[in-house]
Structure formats: C-alpha cells, structure tokens
Amino acid sequence: MMTPASRILRTVPRENAFYFFTSIGNYTGESATSLEEFVKKVKEVNVKSLEFHLYRGDFEKWASQTLEDKDLAEKIRNLHSLNLAGDSLRDQLYFTASKRYEKLRSELHE
C-alpha cells in the first residue's frame, strides 16, 4: 500500500507532467513527471518560466491536483505575497520544493 509520502513522490504519467512555458503557448521543452524532477528543473529552466507559472498559480495547482500534496501547494502559494522575481524567485522556489522533497523522503524511511 502507498503511504502519503510515497504517493506524492511517485512518477506521474507523461500527460500529467508539469510542462514549463515562458508565456502563453511557448513551451521550453522542459517538463517534470515527479517532485524530484521538478526540484531539479527549478534549478535549470529559464527564470521567465518560473515567473510565468508562479503568478498564474500553475505550480500550486500541479502540486495539489496532480501530486496531491496540499502542503507543498500551500507553501508555494505563500510565495506569491513575497513578489519575488529572477534568481531570488528561483532560489526561494527551489528551497521550498527541495525542503518538502527531503521531508517526504525522510518519511519514507521512518
């Protein structure tokens, strides 16, 4: 049986991946099919893509509806009020997602 942590950390089908765009209809070619991959991609993708998705609410929607991680969704939603942009946004989003990933990984081993 899947624990909540293992469910959130699973790899989702390609059609449910997160696809990184820089603006309406402009796909970067980068996608993530798991939280682990998402954390890696946050470090690498064009920062314009992070700005585009954060303020549209796309990250929290994917975390909540696809990964089924309400906790991560709320943490990402809280970033909106900081009005971050550029590398500060990347650093903060990476910190938020990687910390959550590490916590879930540790829960798997308890």
Partner: protein, 158 residues
C-alpha cells in the same frame, strides 16, 4: 499518377476563378458570364470535382457577428525528426488545429494554425494536448492580433 497535374484549358480556369469569387453562383450565371452553355459549365465542374481539382466548397464566417469570440495563433512545433510525421498526424486530429504543415529550415518544424476561445483556453490546449506528444521538443506560439488579408491562391484567367 497521384501527383501529376491535370491539364486544364482556359475555360476550366475561368470557371475556377468564378467559383473562387463566389461558389454560390449557379451554372447558368457562370455560363452567361463566360458565354457558354450552363450544361458545359456543369460538365466541367463535375469533372474537376471528380478529379479532385475542386476539393470542397466551404463558408467563410464572420465569427464576431454570430457572437463567437475566437483567437487564432500560429504555432511552431520543433520536433524530433523521427517523430515529426506522427506529431503532424496527431495535431491534424484536434478540432482546435485548423491547418498543419511541415517546413525544413535549420530544423524540422511543424507549423500549425490554432484557434481557441481565449488565451487561457489556447494555453491549456497547448500545455495539455500538444506539449505531451512524444517527439515534441519545444513550441513557439504567436497570437494573431490583426488580419490584413485572408484568401486562397487564386487561379488566373489565361
């Protein structure tokens, strides 16, 4: 024989031009413009339909007047060359996709004309239906803001 051009004479071309200007004209109307019998016009049109020269008759709508708001965009899809045909075929099946063509510039590209109710619907369609297709490497989309001309290629009278 599939790609061989059919031989058309001057009258065929004049009939085609008349149809391109207004496909609702009767055989009699076209015949009187061209000084030929309506039965001749009928025979020529029938033959060109059977030969696939006339592919279909369609209707150009002013969607704003029927209360349907719509945006159109030109989408360039960069693909893995091995998957390009598959991607083009898959794109062709979506009702949102109006035209699909391939182009070889520096890379193999698929160029498609896409329509949606608004920008958000357009984005959802591309993100949920096009980006996940195997072989899609990246996508560039330009939303059309103003159209200056829309017309098919017109045959010329000889």
């Amino acid at each position: 024989m599939k790609n061989q051009a059919m031989v058309l004479d001057g009258l065929d071309l004049k009939i085609l031009q008349a149809l391109q200007e207004n496909a609702k004209q009767t055989y009699t109307e076209i015949g009187s413009q061209l000084s030929v019998a309506h039965s001749t016009v009928y025979d020529r049109i029938k033959r060109m339909e059977e030969q696939g020269i006339i592919k279909k008759y369609t209707t150009l709508l002013d969607l704003e007047k029927v209360g349907m708001k719509q945006i159109t965009a030109i989408m360039t899809v960069f693909t893995d060359p091995k998957e390009s045909d598959n991607v083009a075929m898959r794109l062709s099946h979506f009702k949102e996709v109006l035209e699909v063509s391939t182009s070889l510039s520096e890379e193999l590209l698929i160029i498609a004309k896409v329509a949606a109710e608004n920008q958000e619907r357009l984005h959802s369609f591309i993100a949920q239906s096009i980006a996940p297709l195997p072989g899609v490497l990246r996508i560039r989309t330009s939303i059309i803001t103003k159209k200056y001309k829309e017309q098919g290629f017109l045959v010329e009278k000889r």
